[in-house]
Subunit: 415 residues, 2 copies
C-alpha cells in the first residue's frame, strides 16, 4: 500500500534525521568519534548493580514488575524529592512526575501545550532532542541569541515583547551542544522576565551534577517556581539505558502531563524506577558521582590542552566547567559538514553545529566535540587529526582559492 | 500563572479520565475489585528472575545500561522474530520495532498518521487505551458494529465505502473489554476488505497467548501483511511493569514510527529489553506460559459458574476462550455507573461498560468483569454480591417504579 499517503500533516515536518546518518558514518572502525553524546560505560555503577538489584527484589518482590501509577513509583518520587532538596528545590514526592527519559517530558509538554503555529523560544544553538520532541506539534521557533554565558536575557525580553510565546526552553548548566552555563545574574534576569511576561520556562538540567570546576548555581526553578518546569534525568549519573527522567512542574501542568503520559506509555518501567530509587536511597549516588567526575575531568582537560596546541588561531571554543561537550567556532564561511567528511577520512569525527539550530542553514561554521567516550590519549590523537584538517583548510581559505570547506550560503555567526 | 490558558487545542479533548476515578474508589479496603485489567502478580516468573538478571549481566555487562538504538535491542528483536514465527508471522529482526509498552506503538501511530478530523474505525466497544492514545491527535471515531464474534465485516466494509478511514483498530483475540475472538472466516473477510479499500489495519494482540480452550487462529497480519500493523506485548506473559511492547509494520510505517519514537523516548529501557530477550532466548516463556494459563483458567471457570448461578436471567455475557475479561450486558435502560456505586457499597466492583465506547453515553447497560486478580473463592463471593445487586434492581425495574439504576438517556444496545 502507499503508506506515505496516509501520513498526518505533522509528520511531513519531522523529516529524516541527518544527524543519525552522520552518527552511522562516524561509527565505522578506525574512526575516533567525538560526535556522540553518550556517557562512558565506565561511568556506570556496575560494581554495585547486583547489590541494587537484589535489594529491589528483596524489598519490592513482584511489585517491581507490576503495572504502576502513571505519576511514578512512590519510593522513587520520595528519593527524588530528597535529591532535589540538595539543589535547593523544594518539592513533595507528589509534585514529582517520573518520565521515560527526560525526552518523555519534552514530548509531553509539546503535546499538551503546543498548537500548530504556537511560538517556542529556545537558545541558538539548542538541544537537538528538544527540537525532535517539539517539532511534531508544529510550533514556530523563535531563536534567542546567546553568547559565551548562554542566553541573553535582553534578547529573551525583546522576543517575549514582540509576540506571545507558549514556552521557553533552555539548558542552564553545561548546555548541549555548547557546554555553556548561565550565570546567576542572568538567571535572576530570566526569572524576572518570565514572571513579568507570565510565560512558562522549561529548565532542562541533565548535566548539572557533572561539575568539574567552580560551585553550583541555583536553578531558575528556585527563583520563579510557578513559572518553571524543571526537568532532569538519571542518565548521566546512573545509567542512560534505564530511561529515567523526571520533572517538577506547576500543578496544572503536571496534571495534564500525567494525562498525556497515560496515552503514551501508561507509566515508566517499574523495575527501572525501583532500581533508581534504591540507587538514591542506598546513598550510592553520593559515593559514585565523584568517580564519574574524576573520570571525565581529565578527559576534558586533555582535550582542551590538545585544542590549545593543535587548533588554528582562527578557531575559538568554549571552556566549560562541566558536562560533556566543547563547542567550537570556525571562521565565518566554513562549512563544517564538508570539513567533517574530510576529517572522517583522516580518522576523527565530530558533529557539525548546524544541526543544533532551529532554523536550517545556521551555524555552518560551528561544531560540537564530546570528550566522555574516549580516554585522554585517544582524545589528544583525535584533536591532532582535526587540527591538521583545520590548518589545511585555513591555508586554502587564506589563499582565497575555492575550497570544498566553503559554505555555499554565507551566514553570520550567531554565537 | 494561569497554566490552563497555555493548553494546546488538542488537550481540551483529552479530558479527565473518569475510569481512573472509578479505579480509585474501588480500591478501597474491603471491596473485591473485578474492575482492574492487570495480570496477577503470581503470574510473574519471580522464581527465575535472578537467573535471568544474572544472565543479562554476564552476557551484556554495561551494554545493558547504555543508550541503545531507537528500533530496539538487537537480541530482543531477534528473539521476537523467532517468537512471531510460532504464530505464523514471518519477520526479520530488522522489521520488528520495540516500544515502551504496546501503548507506545498506539501513540506513535496516532502521531504519524492522524491529522485533526481524520477518521479512525474501531470496534464498539473497544480498548480504552487506544482511545487515550489516539484522541490527542483529534480523530473522528467511526464505531463498527460488533456481535458475539467481534467486528462485523459487512459493517466495516460499509463504513470504508462511506468515508475514507485513516486506520482501523481491532483486538482480534479475547478482546478487551469483551473477551470476544474474531473467527477465521471474519479474519479472511477483514483481510479482503482492507486490501480492496487499501486501508491500514492495526491488529493489537496482547492476549493471544492466554488461550484456555480451543486452538489459535491465524493473525490477520498473516493474511494481508502489507496492510496490517501487528502489535503485541510481553505484559501478559512476562511482566507488565517492564513496559515491553513491539510491532511489525509495513516498511514505510515502521520508518516513520522510529522517527516519532526518537522524539518521544529515544528508545525503550535497554536493561528491560535485555531481560525480555533472555526470557525468550532461555526458553522460559515456553515453560512459564502453561503455569499462567493454569492460574487463570480455573479463575475464569469459577467466575462463569457463579454468574450462571447468581446473575438474573435478563442478563447475558460472553464466555471467552481466553484472556482476562468477561463482558456483561444488562437489560436496556439500566445505568451501570449507578449500579456500580451500589455494588461498591456492598463490597464488589466492576467497570461500567460505557467507558469503552468512543461515543459518550453508549453502552450504559454493559459492564466488564476481570478474573485474573482474585482467587476462585473470592471471585465467587464477588459474583454473588453483584448477583444480589442485579436481582434487586431487576425487581424494581419490573415494578415500573423509578429506579436509581435507570439510565437517564435510553440508548440502544450495540453489542
Amino acid at each position: 500500500m502507499q503508506a506515505e499517503n496516509l501520513l498526518a500533516d505533522r509528520t511531513r515536518n519531522m523529516g529524516a534525521s541527518a544527524i543519525r546518518e552522520i552518527l552511522k558514518v562516524v561509527s565505522r572502525p578506525g574512526t575516533i568519534s567525538l560526535a556522540g553524546g553518550i556517557p562512558a560505560p565506565q561511568s556506570f555503577p556496575m560494581a554495585i548493580i547486583r547489590e541494587i538489584t537484589e535489594a529491589v527484589l528483596q524489598k519490592y518482590g513482584s511489585e517491581a514488575f507490576q503495572y504502576g501509577l502513571t505519576e511514578g513509583f512512590p519510593p522513587l518520587r520520595e528519593a527524588l524529592a530528597a535529591y532535589l532538596e540538595t539543589k535547593g528545590i523544594a518539592a513533595t514526592p507528589e509534585q514529582i512526575l517520573i518520565s521515560t527519559g527526560s525526552q518523555g517530558v519534552l514530548d509531553g509538554l509539546g503535546k499538551i501545550l503546543i498548537s500548530a503555529g504556537d511560538r517556542v523560544a529556545l537558545e541558538a544553538p539548542t538541544y537537538l532532542g528538544a527540537l525532535q520532541a517539539f517539532t511534531p506539534y508544529e510550533p514556530r521557533y523563535v531563536q534567542i541569541e546567546t553568547d559565551d554565558q548562554g542566553m541573553l536575557p535582553e534578547a529573551l525580553d525583546a522576543a517575549l515583547a514582540r509576540h506571545p510565546v507558549k514556552l521557553i526552553y533552555l539548558v542552564p548548566n553545561f548546555q548541549n551542544p555548547t557546554g555553556r552555563t548561565l550565570p546567576m545574574e542572568r538567571r535572576l534576569a530570566v526569572a524576572e522576565i518570565i514572571q513579568r511576561h507570565d510565560t512558562l520556562l522549561v529548565e532542562d538540567d541533565p548535566y548539572g551534577d557533572l561539575r568539574y570546576e567552580g560551585t553550583p548555581i541555583a536553578p531558575i526553578k528556585t527563583l520563579a517556581p510557578e513559572h518553571v518546569v524543571y526537568i532532569s534525568t538519571l542518565s548521566k549519573v546512573f545509567a542512560p539505558g534505564l530511561r529515567m527522567g523526571f520533572c517538577l512542574a506547576p500543578e496544572p501542568v503536571q496534571r495534564w502531563l500525567v494525562l498525556a503520559k497515560q496515552g503514551v506509555d501508561l507509566h515508566t518501567s517499574t523495575f527501572d524506577q525501583a532500581l533508581a530509587a534504591e540507587y538514591l536511597f542506598g546513598g550510592h549516588l553520593g559515593c559514585h558521582l565523584p568517580k564519574i567526575i574524576e573520570l571525565y575531568r581529565p578527559r576534558q582537560q586533555a582535550m582542551l590542552t590538545a585544542m590549545d596546541r593543535f587548533f588554528p588561531s582562527s578557531f575559538s571554543w568554549s571552556r566549560p566547567d562541566g558536562g560533556m561537550f566543547v563547542w567550537v567556532q570556525g571562521p565565518v564561511g566554513w562549512d563544517m559538514e564538508a570539513v567533517n567528511r574530510t576529517a572522517v577520512e583522516r580518522g576523527a569525527a565530530f558533529v557539525p553545529g548546524t544541526f543544533f539550530f532551529a532554523h536550517p542553514g545556521e551555524g555552518k561554521e560551528t561544531l560540537r566535540l564530546n570528550y566522555t567516550m574516549a580516554d585522554e590519549a585517544t582524545l589528544s590523537r583525535a584533536i591532532k587529526i582535526l587540527g591538521g584538517v583545520f590548518e589545511e583548510g585555513a591555508k586554502v581559505f587564506q589563499k582565497g582559492t575555492s575550497s570544498a570547506f566553503r559554505s555555499s550560503s554565507m551566514v553570520s555567526a550567531r554565537c
